[in-house]
């Protein structure tokens, strides 16, 4: 986004520098042309700023918000992971005791371990369930969530470029430039260059 701002600003700089050149004072036509160009550039810059603001509001911020959910999500996943570890650990312990011979102390320990395991397992399952439910919903919500953003993005472009088209269309008509094709323009440039070169004061290279 800053790129498009800098782009617009550098376009404005072109016209501002031109305007400041003293030649403009002498030559009325040139002055008119350059002033018109300058106005156009400045207006475009204003529109660009507007576009940037609009996009900021409707695209960048929602994007950020969406992204800010992810840390909490990651934390939740981590916690589930931890719970899983605990569960596994206790499960292993239970299995270990189950494999031993069923003496009294062992049985007691087994029982205790089972008791410990139960809430941990429940906890893990609860976490798991939650994530299983919520994550797909979250992921799916992005579809609807981003729809308006993209729409807005496209529309902002449309608005901006229609303004640009209008402004520069007017300008070209005003500056009296016939609709030359590119080859024509190139030929014109070549012609001017050779005219310049025909002067002896211009070095040939």
């Amino acid at each position: 986004m800053e790129n498009s701002s800098t782009l617009s600003k550098s376009a404005v700089k072109i016209s501002v520098d031109l305007l400041s050149n003293p030649l403009c004072e002498q030559d009325q036509d040139l002055l008119n042309m350059v002033t018109a160009l300058d106005t156009a550039m400045k207006r475009m810059d204003a529109f660009n700023q507007e576009k940037v603001n609009q996009i900021q509001k409707t695209v960048i911020e929602p994007l950020k918000k969406f992204g800010s959910v992810f840390p909490s999500l990651n934390m939740a996943v981590k916690r589930r992971e931890q719970a899983l570890q605990d569960y596994r650990r206790l499960q292993a312990k239970v299995e270990k005791y189950e494999e031993k011979e069923k003496t009294g102390p062992v049985l007691a320990k087994l029982h205790q371990a089972r008791e410990e395991l139960r809430p941990v397992r429940e906890d893990f399952e609860a976490k798991n369930r939650q994530l299983l439910e919520e994550m797909p919903r979250f992921y799916g919500s992005r579809l609807d969530y981003f729809q308006p953003s993209f729409e807005s993005l496209i529309r902002a472009q449309v608005v901006y470029y229609s303004e640009m088209h209008k402004i520069f269309g007017d300008l070209t008509q005003q500056l009296d430039q016939p609709g030359h094709s590119d080859e024509q323009r190139e030929r014109e440039n070549e012609a001017k260059l050779s005219e310049l070169r025909a002067l002896s004061i211009v070095a040939d290279d």
Binding site: L37, P62, D123, V159, S200, I201
Partner: protein, 675 residues
């Protein structure tokens, strides 16, 4: 051949009239002869030109085309002009009376064309001579050339190519002389006289102009090249001559600064120069700005949103991706290319073209002191040396060249600049049109494209508000930390303890140990996981908030705060009700009056023996699986919670705490801890 009959020798008579007429006739005769000479020489000249151009040139095909161009330069144009001239000359021959006048008029007519065509030839003549010299050094080539010349133009002899090439130069300088001759033999009162006079001066002008042009060209080509010399080369160039030259210039400048001598001000030139400086400033600035613009455009295009995949299969996102991709690859690329070709490149060429004039202006400024000195000397002394004359000429040539051509340059440059600017504007418009077309196309596929802009914005705002709330709720969901399994299995037998602590301290102060604590210090407790303690103080004597003073019901000491967790005493009112309405187990004792303020006892589980246990000593008591027991103390005399003091079947003794389990059943009520 004399044509007119007026040239027959008249009879010699002594009358002055007759003599005049004789001289008149004689001059008329000479005039006619001169005119005829003009025509004849013209004929042979044109013939020679033809020979050079067609025969000799075509036989010299082995030389590279560039050389041939230099040698013969615009000889074809000369032929064209002179052929027409000749033709017209020959026509005048028919009009006997007015021939001279017609001839004069003809020269005046052709003056401009002759000047144009011959000046070009003269300028390239020097280079042609250089080439001829080069050829002379190669004997084989030289011989070949000689043979050709001999074949075509036998009378050329062994003079070589230069002889042939100089012919046009000779011709153009001869015209004034020929005309002069005709003029001399024309009577002053003849009608043709003024015409002839004008013709003569015209042709002389032509020659002067050609010379001037040539000199300017030489000066220009000498000084326009910007020489890139290294320091070493510059140093090598310093010799006494340059040193003296520069010191004299410097002294001149100083004298001017001091006001000793007036500085020649050339207002016209200064104005021109100023304008030129503005133009060059304009061009360089524009060039730099456009270059910067291009750079920014490049940076702008580096951002490629369509390459990142959000995995949204359809809808506006896809449209946007396509749009962005199209824009990048096509519209903007084209814009950039056109910008480079139609705006940047011309600007660069224009900027390069500025160098020549800049150099010349600088040189002129350098030579100005020389010129001024020479002028001074001329005023004082009236003559000057050869070098001084040369310096003067150089300066004058530079000056006149610049004065003549700078205005043109400025104007051309400005026009071109104007064109370039217009092109720039048009390019922007075209870009806008392209993007707009595509964007509108994309927009038409969006669901809300009919909605006008302000309404759309409101819509978007609302939607975003809604969805951000949704997101918020998601976030909350994920943030919710479920409490870890708090209901850790209580060591059986500790309910009593809990109750006691509860009664003494209140529910908010009970904490459960989350992992085994091994006390290291003297006042630190060693507690197993699951033990309930009551908080006495949440810091130790030193104020350390991570060591808490707790009461276990028997012992007091410090434990690390991190291993404690608030214990939620789980009330289960239905259990209480159950308890209250239950008929006792025949073995349980009737509840006695509850001692001290023991609030509603939350413990609802009957302790039973989970496994059989055989007592191994008198302190221990045997258990059978499933037997209900009464826990008197949840730890032994040493405070070790592995053993519990229980009463079973009327007997008391220690059993391993692990062998006891809780089972939901009517609780034995009323047992007090033996105090």
């Amino acid at each position: 051949m004399a044509k007119h009959g007026a040239d027959e020798p008249s009879s010699r008579s002594g009358s002055p009239d007759r003599e005049d007429r004789v001289s008149e006739d004689r001059s008329l005769l000479h005039q006619r002869l001169a005119v005829q000479e003009l025509i004849n020489t013209e004929v042979s000249y044109v013939h020679m030109l033809h020979l050079c151009a067609s025969d000799i040139r075509s036989r010299l095909q082995q030389l590279p085309q560039g050389d041939l161009d230099v040698l013969f330069s615009n000889i074809d144009d000369i032929i064209k002009v002179n052929s027409r001239f000749l033709h017209d000359l020959q026509e005048t021959a028919s009009k006997k009376e007015e021939q001279v006048q017609l001839v004069g008029n003809l020269f005046l007519e052709f003056q401009e064309e002759l000047e144009q065509v011959y000046k070009i030839y003269c300028v390239s003549y020097d280079q042609a001579l250089l080439l001829v010299e080069m050829y002379r050094k190669e004997p084989e080539l030289q011989q070949h050339i000689q043979d050709i010349i001999k074949a075509v133009v036998p009378q050329a002899g062994s003079s070589g190519l230069s002889f042939l090439l100089v012919i046009p130069l000779q011709r153009i300088t001869r015209y004034p002389l020929l005309l002069q001759k005709i003029l001399e033999n024309t009577l002053p009162d003849a009608s043709a006289y003024p015409v002839l006079q004008r013709a003569v001066s015209a042709l002389q002008d032509v020659n002067t102009n050609i010379n001037e042009y040539k000199m300017r060209k030489e000066v220009a080509s000498k000084y326009t090249k910007v020489e890139q010399l290294t320091l070493r080369e510059r140093l090598a160039r310093i010799n006494t001559h340059t040193l003296s030259k520069k010191t004299t210039r410097l002294s001149q400048l100083l004298k001017q600064e001091a006001g000793l001598i007036p500085r020649t001000e050339d207002k016209e030139f200064d104005d021109l120069e100023e304008r030129f400086q503005w133009v060059s400033l304009c061009v360089t600035e524009l060039k730099n700005n456009v270059a910067a613009y291009l750079d920014h455009l490049q940076a702008f295009l580096c951002f490629r949103p369509h390459e990142y995949n959000l995995d949204i299969p359809e809808g506006p996102a896809v449209h946007y991706c396509n749009l962005a991709r199209d824009l990048q690859l096509e519209a903007f690329l084209k814009f950039k290319q056109r910008l480079e070709g139609l705006v940047c490149q011309p600007l660069c060429s224009l900027a390069k073209a500025l160098l020549g004039p800049q150099n010349l202006i600088k040189k002129r400024l350098n030579k100005l002191p020389d010129f001024e000195r020479v002028e001074e000397k001329l005023l004082e002394v009236g003559s000057m040396t050869y070098e001084e004359q040369a310096a003067r000429h150089t300066y004058q040539a530079l000056n006149s060249l610049l004065v003549a051509e700078l205005p043109q340059f400025n104007q051309l440059a400005m026009q071109w600049l104007g064109q370039i600017l217009c092109t720039f504007v048009t390019l922007q418009r075209d870009l806008a049109k392209q993007v707009l077309q595509r964007a509108e196309g994309s927009m038409a596929q969006l669901p809300h494209h009919q909605v006008p802009e302000p309404a759309f914005r409101k819509l978007v705002e609302d939607t975003l508000g809604r969805t951000s709330n949704q997101l918020h709720s998601f976030q909350e969901t994920f943030k919710k930390v479920r409490p870890p399994p708090t209901t850790q299995p209580l060591l059986p037998g500790s309910e009593r303890q809990v109750q006691a602590l509860l009664s003494r301290y209140g529910p908010g102060k009970l904490y459960q140990v989350t992992s085994n604590i091994s006390g290291t210090g003297t006042l630190d407790l060693t507690l197993p996981r699951g033990q309930i303690v009551a908080l006495l103080q949440d810091k130790d004597t030193k104020g350390n908030r991570s060591r808490w003073l707790v009461d276990t019901g028997g012992h007091r000491g410090y434990v690390p705060a991190g291993k404690l967790q608030l214990y939620h005493v789980v009330p289960s009112t239905e259990e209480l009700q159950r308890q209250a309405g239950l008929n006792e187990d025949p073995r349980c004792l009737t509840p006695e009056a509850v001692r001290a303020p023991v609030p509603s006892i939350p413990t609802a589980n009957q302790v039973i023996a989970a496994y059989p246990f055989v007592a191994r000593s008198s302190h221990e008591v045997s258990l059978q699986a499933g037997q209900p027991v009464t826990v008197l103390e949840a730890q032994d005399k040493k405070g070790n919670p592995e053993w519990s003091l229980v009463e079973v079947n009327g007997r008391r003794g220690y059993v391993p705490s692990g062998f006891l389990a809780r089972a939901p059943s009517p609780v034995l009520w009323g047992w007090n801890l033996p105090s």
